[in-house]
Amino acid sequence: MARAAIPGRLGERLRWRVATLVGQRAETPAARTLVFDVPGWPGHLAGQHVDVRLTAEDGYSTQRSYSIASAPDGDRVELTVQEVEDGEVSSYLTNGVLDGDRLELRGPVGGWFVWEPAQPEPVLLVAGGSGIVPLMAMIRSRRQTGAEAPFRLLYSVRTPQDRMYLEELRTPDPGLDVTFLYTREAPEGWARRPGRLTGPDLAAVAWPAAAGPTTYVCGPTGFVEHTADLLVALGQDPDRIRTERFGPTGG
């Protein structure tokens, strides 16, 4: 599998750019999508992320990484931020920002966990909680380019209220199958009892290994490692499983 990345002048790729908030929308009670205008944005691939830098008036500065949620769209970059308990950056981004506010972005970063529309093989996306964000960028990129590679998404959340991008995922694009999996609380009448993702859950959505699928798994570290182990036990080729782990900062 080829590595994918956007080459470019380093001075461009790794410098901080000013991003202005031009819109926001709630995805869930704890997650917001922020829409930024970033003049000179060099473009990105689905799956990549950005570093975000915030500086306070006294000069204190801190950084976090967030996956890009949107397909490439000129100077527009969307991030979906999940509020983390005691998170100094996530609470500002989910509660404190107003349209017109500015912060700094650097990137795009990451050449490994990417999906490109030219990839013809079937794709399995497995999301744990806020791990859905970079996978949503892949779904949106597929839609934008009209790519025909068949996609399946298995989206694990605690409760139905935790599902991000619900409107889009409830009416999936042709060739995209979406399965929700609940770990704490399921909707009324849901056949599967709430609980952690298991081998049979994955077997129900996995592409046959002979089809040469690529699998992207994203979420908290424990979720990703558990899922990857289950996939390999099911006979999936470990070299075709790409993972991205979120640390305690949530991004």
């Binding site: 590595r3 990345a5 956007i6 080459p7 470019g8 002048r9 380093l10 001075g11 790794l14 410098r15 901080w16 000013v18 830098r53 915030l54 500086t55 306070a56 008036e57 204190y60 500065s61 801190t62 100094e88 500002y92 404190g96 920002v97 107003l98 506010d101 500015r102 912060l103 700094e104 970063v109 050449g111």
Partner: protein, 199 residues
Amino acid sequence: MAIVSRGFHGRRQSSEHRLPPGQYEVTDFPVLSAGPTPRVSRDVWEFTVVTETGDRHSWNWRQLLALPSERPVVDLHCVTKWSKFDTTWQGVSMDTLLGDVETAAEYALVHSYGGYTTNLPLADLLDGKAWIAYGYGGADLPPEHGGPARLLVPHLYLWKSAKWVRGIQLLMQDEPGFWESAGYHDYGDPWREQRYQGD
């Protein structure tokens, strides 16, 4: 210059902890080596950046000195546990040297005259974090401390600040250098005490 984000206050850690865990302060400047000290004449000295596609960018001594230089004042932290505060240097920022380089690479392998190598993420060489330094303490950098020029990347343990620097290879995959392939940590953050592999 960073812009200020309205309404962001942040939460501070307590400041003025300048000694990373496990370190002690020294006032001399110990010399540690893995081999004989190269004597590189400025007439033959060259610094080269090689990208993953084989593109090369080179500077000879005259060209290096013609670039804008800075005088950073930094603390040094050696993995052998000594730290030295407020060292004064003169050198060219890696941002100046790498700004026009076209690459998709995420890793760097630094090479020295004499064969020493060390690896680190490319991002750790940028954004004001690293220099090619040719002056120390107001004078020319002496050979035992890496002169004519060394890499200076003080936010990592000092073994990453390769003495007698010769060039940097930009790579798509991380490749361990001299000490990293013999047990030392691939990254080497003194504040997280990343001395050995597995720390």
